[in-house]
Subunit: 216 residues, 2 copies
């Protein structure tokens, strides 16, 4: 199965690399990185460059489509060429997926109309503008569309997708290869678990930005 | 604090990107990517290019040093220039760290002599050759040296390091920003939990390679 992962300036790298690392270990899956133009793209805070090996036009019909997120969702929602590509790829895809605020890209392309979906907790409400029903879960599947919550959740989403497509044994193998036996030293990974003052402080700092209003 | 993450041809990308994503969110931490030469390096199975912005010589004394792993440990253990850099950086570092088989790089540089350490489960025994005591834990700290188990464990290691260096609240904030509330759909992420036939099959497939003997 051909898997295309979108790269774009301003993206959050782990959103892409979590699913990439899971999927590339599965026999029969080919993963490639695509962008508007070939060449280097820079991460959300410019600290890392990643290479896009293919243009959007070169990979029009991937079997699996992965849209990573960004603290600056307009990088995707405001790019007609990318939205056209998402729309076209979604027509023939087996699975259309997003991680973090990548869901807003799917939404802006019209993919989430009438669907249940999730995204980074700071951006959940923004899904409504695209006709989606926000769901406060780590991984949400609605038909062939999978959306994952913030950043690290793409690992869980990809494992679930591998299980669905290739069976439980394939998912277990992928999990063991990347030794995904999480043991976070603290338990503040979701809004439900984190201290309320921390949640409030991050909402204050990033909330409007992640909603795609551009106000930070 | 200056954090330097080593890039090299053949590396496993998530090993680097897990800690990167955690650390880059912490105020006061600067993260940069270094390699023997500036420019593009390719991932373990050539599917992704990442850009090294700095040469080793340009970042001789990072406060935090991160050595990612690879299915081909000789990429690091057989590179005298990289080992010299690790040795020199370790002399003045606050924290010296590895993810996955990056520990074999630390070992080959002499950093693990007499220390407790961990690495990818397929490579644990190889630590003994460097005078280290292999420990079957996800994150092992021995003095200023942190080693993490396979691939995804770098996220847990980085959160623990942030907690140690900057306090629990900083670790909680980093965890919530990347929404690290893991919910893997299956429970096969460690040798202790995975089905024995799967463990045996992966040992057969990758064992000698990951031990650094070059035999796959």
């Amino acid at each position: 199965m051909q898997t295309a992962i979108l790269l774009f300036d301003g993206m959050t790298v782990l959103d892409a690399i979590g699913p990439y690392e899971v999927l590339q270990s599965v026999p029969g899956v080919e993963v490639c990185f695509v962008a508007r133009e070939k060449g280097e793209i820079r991460s959300d805070f410019k600290r890392l460059g990643l290479m896009a090996d293919f243009t959007l036009a070169e990979v029009p019909q991937p079997d699996i489509l992965i849209i990573p997120g960004t603290p600056f969702p307009e990088s995707v929602t405001g790019d007609p060429a990318v939205l056209d590509w998402i729309r076209g790829a979604h027509e023939s895809s087996t699975w259309t997926t997003s991680v973090c605020t990548g869901a807003l890209g799917l939404g802006a392309a019209g993919v989430l109309e009438g669907r249940r979906a999730t995204t980074h907790w700071l951006a959940l409400d923004a899904l409504k503008a695209f006709g989606a029903t926000p769901v406060e879960e780590r991984v949400v599947r609605d038909g062939k569309v999978w959306t994952a919550a913030g950043v690290s959740s793409g690992i869980d989403m990809a494992l679930a997708l591998v299980g669905e497509q290739f069976g439980d044994e394939a998912a277990q193998a992928a999990q063991l290869i990347i030794e995904y036996d999480p043991q976070p030293p603290c338990d503040a990974g979701s809004v439900k678990k984190a201290p309320a003052p921390l949640v409030a402080a991050l909402r204050e700092q990033f909330g409007d930005l992640m909603q795609g209003t551009g106000e930070a």
